[in-house]
Symmetry: C2
Subunit: 363 residues, 2 copies
Amino acid sequence: MRAAFNIAKTADFRLVRPNPLVGAVVASSDGNILGEGCHEKFGAAHAEVNAIQNALKHTNDLSACTLYVTLEPCSHQGKTPPCTDFIMRNGIKKVVMGSSDPNPLVSGATVLKEAGVNVEVHNYPALLDMNREFFVNQLHQRPYVVLKMATTIDGKIADRNGKSKWLSNEESRIYVHEHLRTEADAILTTYHTVLKDNAQLTIRKSDGSVLDKDIIIIDRDFQLLKPENAGLSIFKSHPHSTIFLFGLHKHMNDVPKNVKIIFTDFDQEGNIKLDAMLKMLLEQKHYKILVEAGSKLATQMMIHDCIDEMKLFVAPVVFLDNQAISIFNHDHYTSLLDTKKFQLSGVHPFASDVLLSYVKKSL
Amino acid sequence: MRAAFNIAKTADFRLVRPNPLVGAVVASSDGNILGEGCHEKFGAAHAEVNAIQNALKHTNDLSACTLYVTLEPCSHQGKTPPCTDFIMRNGIKKVVMGSSDPNPLVSGATVLKEAGVNVEVHNYPALLDMNREFFVNQLHQRPYVVLKMATTIDGKIADRNGKSKWLSNEESRIYVHEHLRTEADAILTTYHTVLKDNAQLTIRKSDGSVLDKDIIIIDRDFQLLKPENAGLSIFKSHPHSTIFLFGLHKHMNDVPKNVKIIFTDFDQEGNIKLDAMLKMLLEQKHYKILVEAGSKLATQMMIHDCIDEMKLFVAPVVFLDNQAISIFNHDHYTSLLDTKKFQLSGVHPFASDVLLSYVKKSL
């Protein structure tokens, strides 16, 4: 399984996504590896097929072999034929799976068992970790959500008047552009954040070029479509992408060409119904989104357990002011046992800032 | 100067303190190093003397040589005779100093200049950093103060009822004992912290042994001396050290043998007058203290700019609760410009906790 894990990681996840990284190994009864393979590219052959085909170069008889595969093989016709058929057709009698596939269309373990194949299913944490985005997409039918925040040492994101510009340093901001924004399919924000900083939310590359990605803006009353906001930078800075405005149904006039209006529900407190919005975003092929907003949206998402990863840039300053705005702000008693649990996944100093990366403890 | 800096660091600061680390180099007119030396031990010869004595093994005539020394040479009789005398007696005509000595008794630069020696004084940040404790002791006439806190990702140290026990993990706690408590001369806390957890504040070593250090407790009304508190662990766990109780003058009965009462001033809000207390602690040879207390004392010390170093253990949890207790808690408007400035000095993951170390930006 370790060999299968290692070969899985040789693929470039950017070519594979939204599929997961998968590796497979065919081993002889005495434990020698006869063939290995990975899923190299979205739409291309699955890892099991590649591994079996490589093994067939050495021997015609795989009946005494075991197939180790990091993820449960597919049993349905997708971009490629079902892997379970290919496994059985080649006479493999034992399959060990490193993780089960959460997609209900995939029932490879059951199909193989029913056909008399000896099946072992594990759920190794390292294999779940390798494909966190895929598992979140499948399990929760929503994008993988990354929350980015710039905070002080004492957990404040803005002064009590909401001022926060340039809290983090230049090195941190470069990382946001070159990595966090670049690696997301879209950026989620609120009309308030866009208005406050006249934010562009583009990707400034180190070579001076500027790229734009889809932007999702929560804007219940379509404030951004008011005539006085027609000059906002965001409308001009997104010529190659779409700005999705999520709001309540109301009569409206002109909508800029790169803006797509989506009518959705809000609760009585004015909070968007997150589940519906996130499901819609996944349907729009936004597999991974970066949240760049204020405390209110971050808190709502945290309460609903839909922050999969946090990227906190901690600036080397202390606010002291207990009315300065905190990262999260929920007036609800929480005990030490009820805290939201994360796992430290990385630590990265940028001069005197430090980036703390966390992933959600349970998928 | 780089050579002098490097030789300074070869000494063990634990043997040297409360003196600073100092290195010196005697260089010929063509830039060759003829002798070098450092201050090796408290009470032993100063770096300049060692460097000059080593140079004299190569030549009798140092009149064309330059002395590079990381700290301004002393000009007064201390544990050893004044270094300025020794420099002049050996005919050295040029002295370059990497940092000036903040002790008013030390006026080596002036003494040498008046004797016709060519003197250059710098204040290189790396040299100030190397002796931060010494400079703080000298400049501010108080101990070097290290604040230790265990916080959540969102800057909370306890739930809204003050519960905080075991927020940080075992690896973090080992580090507190083996490093932070071990390296301080005393631990500063409040009666409230002692009462809340029945804290022992000892040093548990990895070999199972337990050491005790001086404890300083702010206890305005001498609550800990009330009969009902006689059984507190702290009185039993400090057989080899002293517990200093800082409070207001009041009639009192029995005082345990290892307790020393110190009467001091408090302001109208019940806060101890920090300056007086810290000055007294330095006089008691507490050159470096570790603060392990709650938000109130931490905030007071931060407001008064007397936190020289922060050690924050960040646990991988989020509280969300805006009434949970923050690291600092001061109801006073602070703008982004008025924040307290620090510098990241280290990052150390302990499993899923991370220790962020900061030093004050200006000494």
